[in-house]
Amino acid sequence: MPFHLFADKLVDLDRAASAVVDGALVALGGGLSARLPMALVRELIRAGRRDLHVLGSAHGIDVDLLVAAGAVAICEESYVGFEQDFGLAPAYRRAAETGAVEVRESCCATILAQLRAAEFGLPMLPVRGVKGSDIRRLHPEYAEVTCPFTGETLVVVPPLRPDVALIHAPLGDRHGNLHLDQPYVLDERFAAASRQVVATVERIASTEDVVAAGVTIPAHLVTAVAEVPYGAHPTSCYPGYAYDRPHLAEYVRAATAGGGELAGYIDRYVTGTATEEAYRKVVGEERLAALGQWSASTQAWKDLFR
């Protein structure tokens, strides 16, 4: 939200993740199984963060893994799951059913209105829907107003100002200029509405190169940037790599089993790997390189998803 005018924002991943403190309202960039800020998610778990209030539109393994690690107190997402592909999010589901996390489920369009209210510096914005929905029961902060111009009664929602937005991008420079490919999902809105923006990028490039690719999120909105190749894995970050469907299947299996199997996944891929370099070794450089083969042919692309 405030502009950040210092010149050099390039830091290591652990330093970048340290912007998130226990209890913070954290906006998660990307959506479903694409461009989720997974390296930052893993780093928050390594650092033992607790009581986070996570915010986002439709998400998957990022939220589920944070919940599995006991890092989340409040979940304000429009969806958490693995679509028809692998179904419900196992750890999130379990935590919601036992009351271990507060489910503050929301709607994409409502979250958008709340971020815009923050961007506009306004105390509220109206939305057209929500009224007939029980989603409203999850949000005592919503209210109603009568429009002074038309007399309509509309639901109004307050601003959402995340403490930190976590965003993964294919390309950025050390000043924090970020290039993203579409869909941006809510990333631009998160960047403008949040107090801090922490980014990971596949590659740090010169400002000229980032400008040539197109700046999606400008440096003055960004507080820290770290270079983390495969920082969205096991989700996709095109044009670099497709999502790692077998890895997601492995995670969902472990998370569904819970207990020792889930702890085993977290130990193997998160707490047992001190750095993302170690994570990439455990996943396997060959496997990671194979995810980049989507562009070789339609057949190769399809084969990744079988």
Partner: protein, 276 residues
């Protein structure tokens, strides 16, 4: 030509789209997603197809991937909307149709994708509604669908939680709430097709030929209203089947059905040639 229930089902969904409509599907909805591409390649060539998680306009994907947010779903698209660009269009009434499903669907077309059981301690926490609770208010018409009607748990007397409003809830009707969209127009299941009567209540109007009225009644949790001219569903044309198989070579649509249901196959020229 032999075809299976998932193929026929998707074609029935596709036929709820009219030409020159602006149409959207939610994510995690492979049947609806495939149906939109089938419609665009058959009877609705001038529709505006907006992909559910990439917001790409009229793409020609080389195949439908198992996740809704994949680059394959942007291939060939002349334009990709921003997230807010799509939601703004829907809020002001420029989107004509959306496909919407639910773990529970009641007679008024209210849908639940949030939780089964009491809200404070749900029996099953479902994934959540995405953008539905605003989109369902202002998009022109809704095509509801489920491939799990036969389970007996999907079409219910009353949703445990209303995520997206249909024609009426305890709070009031759409008109009373100032909703600008028309609400549910069709409900397509693996057993048959419902439209909505003057009360905004689901009314069975078409049946798959291998399904009996008693089966539908047994699987439906709300009182079954039946159209006086109940008739069998028209089989898919060879062109529709061909379009579908080209669009969805990975068969992602099949992930919505139970394995038993997928055994239902049909052959052109026979009214109910179930091979199961």
């Amino acid at each position: 030509m032999t075809f299976s229930i998932d193929e026929w089902f998707v074609v029935v969904l596709a036929r709820t789209i009219r030409d020159r409509e602006v149409v959207f599907h939610g994510f995690g909805s492979p049947c609806a997603q495939v149906a939109m591409h089938v419609a665009r390649h058959t009877h609705a060539r001038d529709m505006l197809l907006v992909e559910g998680a990439t917001y790409a306009v009229n793409p020609d994907p080389p195949f439908i991937p198992p996740t809704g947010n994949d680059l394959a779903l942007q291939q060939g698209a002349p334009y990709r909307m921003r997230f807010e660009e799509f939601f703004d269009a829907a809020a002001r009434g420029d989107v004509d149709r959306m496909f919407l499903s639910g773990g529970q669907i009641d007679g008024y077309g209210n849908t639940n994708v949030t939780a089964i059981g009491p809200l404070d301690r749900p029996k099953v926490k479902l994934g959540g509604g995405g953008g539905g609770c605003n989109l369902a208010a202002s998009i022109g018409s809704l095509t509801l669908w489920t491939a799990r009607h036969r389970s007996g748990r999907t079409l219910v007397e009353r949703c445990d939680f209303v995520t997206d409003m249909g024609h009426r809830t305890a709070v009031g009707t759409r008109a009373e709430l100032g909703f600008t969209g028309g609400g549910p127009q069709w409900l397509v299941t693996e057993l048959g097709v419902f439209d909505y009567d003057a009360d905004g209540y689901a009314r069975l109007c078409q049946l798959f030929p291998d399904v009996g009225l008693d089966e539908v009644r047994a699987a439906t949790g709300f009182p079954l209203r039946v159209a006086s001219d109940l008739r069998p569903i028209n089989p898919p044309s060879p062109a529709e089947i061909a379009a579908l198989r080209t669009v969805d070579p990975l068969g992602v649509r099949r992930s919505e059905f139970s394995p038993q249901e997928l055994r239902r196959t049909f052959t052109h020229g026979t009214s109910a040639a179930c091979a199961c």
